[in-house]
């Protein structure tokens, strides 16, 4: 008898050969991961383009204006004990979002270990961090709009484009955070009720519930944190 591979699972190749092999396999490209996770990555790729192009338009208007650009360090300063501390609220928001990413990563890990209670609590902590981030953003926007008189078409500090790009970029990011908080609460409820342990079908897709959903949710949440890293660098610090 000669050896045959019929009926045996083919081991996927590694390295660059693996990339070519995966893409030309006449099967699903993204092996070893659930398709929901692959599709979340594709969605995040498209979101990368959206935020990339927002930041690109911000770069373009900032480079092309002949009016001096407002100095973000002073605009976003807060007075604490009669002394203005530059960017302090933004720094706190950054630390809060990073912390929420940390708790989310741990939630994913406890989810795969079937630790229902710890996973749900960690997701809820993540949601609470996210909600407080949005709250601080609301505070920041209110201060800028009501007290400083910043508008999308003008502001008292300098180039008018400052307002339009600021509201567009941070607004779109805040919207992402808000949507994320809502979905975190929904997922936490599912984990808490044991819907992933019992493989109960989801109301939207009717797929069997699984802790993969927690990791997919985590990918979205980490992406929100990731976008903030770029906004913090380019908008607030540059």
């Amino acid at each position: 008898m000669t050896q045959s591979n019929v009926g045996k699972a083919v081991e996927p190749l590694e390295g660059l050969d693996g990339v070519v092999g995966d893409w030309s396999s006449d099967q699903r490209v993204f092996k070893e991961i659930p398709w929901g996770k692959a599709m979340m990555w594709i969605f995040l790729l498209s979101d990368t383009f959206i935020f990339g192009i927002f930041l690109l338009s911000y770069m373009t208007v900032r480079m092309s204006t002949t009016v001096p650009w407002p100095y973000p360090s002073e605009i976003f300063a807060l007075e604490i004990g009669h002394q203005p501390i530059p960017l302090v609220l933004i720094a706190i928001m950054t630390f809060i979002l990073i912390s929420s990413s940390g708790t989310m990563a741990m939630a994913v890990r406890f989810g795969y270990q079937r630790d229902r209670v710890k996973t749900a609590i960690l997701i809820l902590i993540t949601a609470a961090f996210g909600a407080s981030f949005v709250g601080m953003q609301v505070f920041e926007w209110t201060k800028l709009i009501v007290e400083e008189g910043v508008r999308p078409w003008s502001n008292p500090f300098g180039a008018a484009q400052f307002g339009s790009t600021f509201f567009m970029i941070t607004g779109f990011h805040g919207f992402h955070v808000s949507v994320g908080v809502i979905f975190l609460v929904i997922i936490a409820r599912k984990v808490w009720r044991g819907e992933f342990d019992n493989q109960e079908p989801g109301f939207f897709t009717s797929r069997k519930g699984s802790y993969e959903t927690v990791e997919i949710m985590g990918l979205y949440w980490h992406f929100v944190d990731l976008v903030w890293v770029f906004i913090f660098a380019f908008f607030y610090l540059w």
Binding site: I33, F49, L56, G102, E212, L226, A233, W238
Partner: protein, 111 residues
């Protein structure tokens, strides 16, 4: 105890690595805040901002989003397309400089 193997079921890694990356992200954020706090200016400022930004982004993607444990085909699919934005950045740099120069010529006192 669950297996620590990356594809046992989904992504399972020791909790310590998340805590370490978390701490590292805090430190890097503090550094980038200090760049502004101490008014570092010019090319050094831009270099430091970009350096801390890239390090933070890399840590979040590779560890928190588990990208370093994924197959290469997923990594390439996600990382290569955004590089095209760099071409767009280059184009818009020329465009922005052109608009700036035109405004300087036609609105010498500012708009």
């Amino acid at each position: 105890m669950a297996k620590a193997e990356s594809h046992a079921e989904g992504q399972q890694h020791p909790i310590g690595i998340y805590l370490k990356i978390w701490a590292l992200l805090f430190v890097l954020s503090a550094f980038s805040y200090l760049v502004d706090f101490y008014h570092v200016e010019g090319y050094l400022r831009w270099f430091l901002i970009l350096l801390f930004m890239v390090l933070k982004a890399g840590l979040i993607i590779s560890v928190f989003m588990h990208m370093m444990w994924e197959r290469l085909s997923l990594i390439y699919t996600i990382f290569l397309p955004p590089l095209l934005v760099m071409v767009f950045v280059l184009l818009m740099t020329y465009e922005a400089n052109y608009i700036f120069a035109t405004r300087e010529v036609f609105f010498p006192t500012g708009p």
